[in-house]
Symmetry: C2
Subunit: 434 residues, 2 copies
């Protein structure tokens, strides 16, 4: 049974805080191991990467075979059947169209002093994308990471994907090809992150690394942050569904299970203003769990971390939702359009009962890489913004400098930074003499 | 003497790489100490913060005196003379006007299937700003961090600023007041970062922490990243000046010194296409160093890390500049306007000889918190974007779901995520039946 909470209960606040505070992830402390791996790759380059790949992935490679050749990529992609290919292509086109709208504009204007100010956006030159291997090797993740990079204008996009025992997922290679990825390496773990960050003889270093991974990958990304940019460190997935009683309990149940099946640490929460509806959904979840293929994962997730919260009205639902700051928020109410405008902290919102969250995982267009663990309070999902950066621009004229220079000089003096002030004073003196 | 390089020299590439690779900062490994401090603040809250403040700042506080009272702020601000106040107010107004233009637009559109897609931006609820104490307690930094937060719409903005031995900088308090800061605490170090991230009885937790600090502060920010958002971890400051011979060597010299005087680890580089001009600037630097107040800092910085690089033409200057990816780039050439468009990696560009970099430190309008240590390759200066986040929006209609749902189902199947597919299938079945 999941947790049942009701805001009318005296102990609701304590129960809610306990629910939010549940430690869902047991991150093993792999930092020391990862530090050694990174140091080894920095020192020995390819040789270290190859040894570690032989050890962890049971795969003997050479500098020449570390990278997938064009011929291999072609032959693997040819294994994908037409329906899967068409689905990937539709997803890629929709993701591309959405992300193309995210490109921000440059700006350049003159102010009242005659000073010209503005900024310019430019793309990161080279990016690396980590793609997990084995079971969690998702072609959709390749599209979601690679397309924003290419839309942003990244010149060189490299993928690293481990292939334990040599097993390759053809859909991952096809997704990479469709997204326009430039290089694909069959390596993984902290050694792959280190190779991307510091470079080896075979792999040129990149400027930014994104993509999900296990505890070793996460620790490696944290360690190379600063040398390169990284995206977020993602935790287990979450969904919050706000639903009124005018919903089919089976639909809401399967939506909750679509997160629960990701991971035993995933969390699915229903908030409803109707206790009977809440119980009906919970019953529907149990029923569906009887036959669900991934019940061994979804069952523990739902029973350990799942919750049904009964509220007195939807205003209360909004307030609780903002405290949860969910990664995914599905709003299945008659006034969903209106209700969504009241939400402040959420990674992605799915509006109305015809919008199951799974649409967003694959094909809607928005990115499925989203802030977890309440980080939607301060961060956003992946976007083209992760692959571009802004250069600010200033151009003074003599008049502008006469207008604002003396204040700069004054502030420099107050901070005891004499040369700062003198660099302005040298110009002002010339103007005052002229 | 600074380093002299010439791209015509045979060993230029090796010298350039050595210059770029110079370890300018000796970051002491304070991570273990910081981990203990954070754990202590999490466990004991105010009591730990007060003890650590007594120990490191030699200042006995109580929960009541930890925060500056309105009366204290008023009385400290009254000590600031009118000229300093006017300079701060002009700077604040210009910084505010620049950052107001950065607010990005929301979006909402319907695509060809009838699906509505878009995103909404919203502000972080609460932010904390670290302001160093003592000598490097800069009112300009308060403006540069606090104004973007307030422009973004942050509801609650708290400052922490250590006051060793109780010494307060009235300009810092005035800058905070002008910027609209809500709370000011006289605490610092890792304990202040921990208090902001996790909260104590006196200090409510924030969602985002920005601002510069020493090695302890940097390590603490790195550690609380994830629990809260942080800005960049800044390294020592840098300037690159690209100048042709039609410049006054004295102006360029003082511009180089305006970075060098920040820190012995700062780096000032001149790139010029005229070797004689390069020598003239170096001579002017030496001359000015004889009398500069902060010569004990600027001198070692210039001699250890300063450089004059002679190039054969300005195209070469652009290529080298992009390899350096400077924090600050001053372009003092006749075609500065045109040259700046060719630069891809720089935090801020100052265009033309009338735009000394110090204008940007105080009063130009753009932010002075900028990416150091080559991180302009992948990151941007501080902006309103650091205090807002994006929620993506999707709304399907029955027609839209019929058009794209089957592809989502197909991809879910290919990833063995059955419930994902079923959540779409449940809706499609209803539509196909209807």
């Amino acid at each position: 049974m999941p947790h049942f909470l009701n805001t009318l209960d005296d102990n609701f606040e304590a129960e809610f805080i306990a629910l939010m505070g549940m430690k869902r992830e047991d991150s093993p402390d792999v930092d020391a191991v990862v530090a050694d791996i990174i140091a080894d790759v920095r020192a020995r380059g390819d040789a270290a990467v190859l040894e570690l790949t032989a050890k962890f992935d049971r795969l003997e490679l050479t500098p020449e075979t570390m990278r997938f050749s064009d011929a291999e990529i072609e032959s693997e992609c040819a294994k994908v059947d037409d329906e899967d290919r068409a689905a990937l292509e539709m997803a890629a086109a929709r993701i591309r169209a959405y992300h193309e709208r995210q490109m921000p504009a440059d700006a350049w204007w003159e102010d009242e002093t005659g000073a010209a100010l503005g900024w310019r956006w430019s793309a990161v030159s080279a990016a690396g994308l980590y793609v997990p291997g084995g079971l969690a090797s998702y072609p959709s993740s390749v599209l979601m990471n690679a397309i924003p990079a290419k839309v942003a204008g990244v010149d060189r996009l490299a993928i690293v994907v481990p292939t334990p025992d040599g097993v390759v997922n053809p859909l991952v290679l096809l997704a990479a090809k469709i997204a326009g990825v430039d290089e694909i390496y069959r390596i993984g773990g902290a050694q792959a992150v280190a190779a991307l960050a510091y470079g080896t003889d075979t792999i040129a270093p990149v400027d930014k690394i994104t993509g999900p991974g296990n505890a070793f990958v996460a620790a490696a990304k944290r360690r190379v942050f600063g040398k390169v940019g990284i995206d977020m460190i993602a935790g287990p997935s979450e969904i919050l569904v706000i639903a009124d009683k005018d919903n089919d309990p089976d639909w809401i149940a399967v939506d909750l299970l679509s997160q629960a099946e990701h991971d035993e640490s995933a969390q699915s929460i229903l908030i409803t203003d109707d206790a009977d509806f809440g119980r009906a959904v919970a019953a529907a979840v149990e029923k569906q769990l009887e036959t669900l293929e991934r019940r061994a994962i979804a069952g523990p997730s739902w029973r350990d971390f799942g919750a049904v919260i009964v509220v007195k009205d939807m205003e209360e639902a909004v307030r609780l939702s903002d405290r949860i700051a969910p990664e995914h928020l599905e709003i299945c109410t008659n006034d969903a359009e209106d209700l969504q405008t009241k939400i402040r902290h959420a990674g992605a919102i799915f509006i109305g009962s015809w919008t199951p969250e799974a649409i967003g995982d694959y094909i809607g267009g928005p990115n499925h890489v989203l802030p977890t663990a309440r980080s939607a309070r301060f961060s956003s999902g992946l976007s083209v913004m992760d692959f571009i950066k802004r250069t600010t621009l200033s151009r003074m004229t003599p008049d502008a400098l006469l207008a604002i220079g003396p204040s700069a000089e004054r502030l420099a003096k107050s901070e005891s930074l004499e040369a700062h002030g003198l660099s302005v004073r040298a110009r002002l003196d010339r103007l005052n003499k002229g």
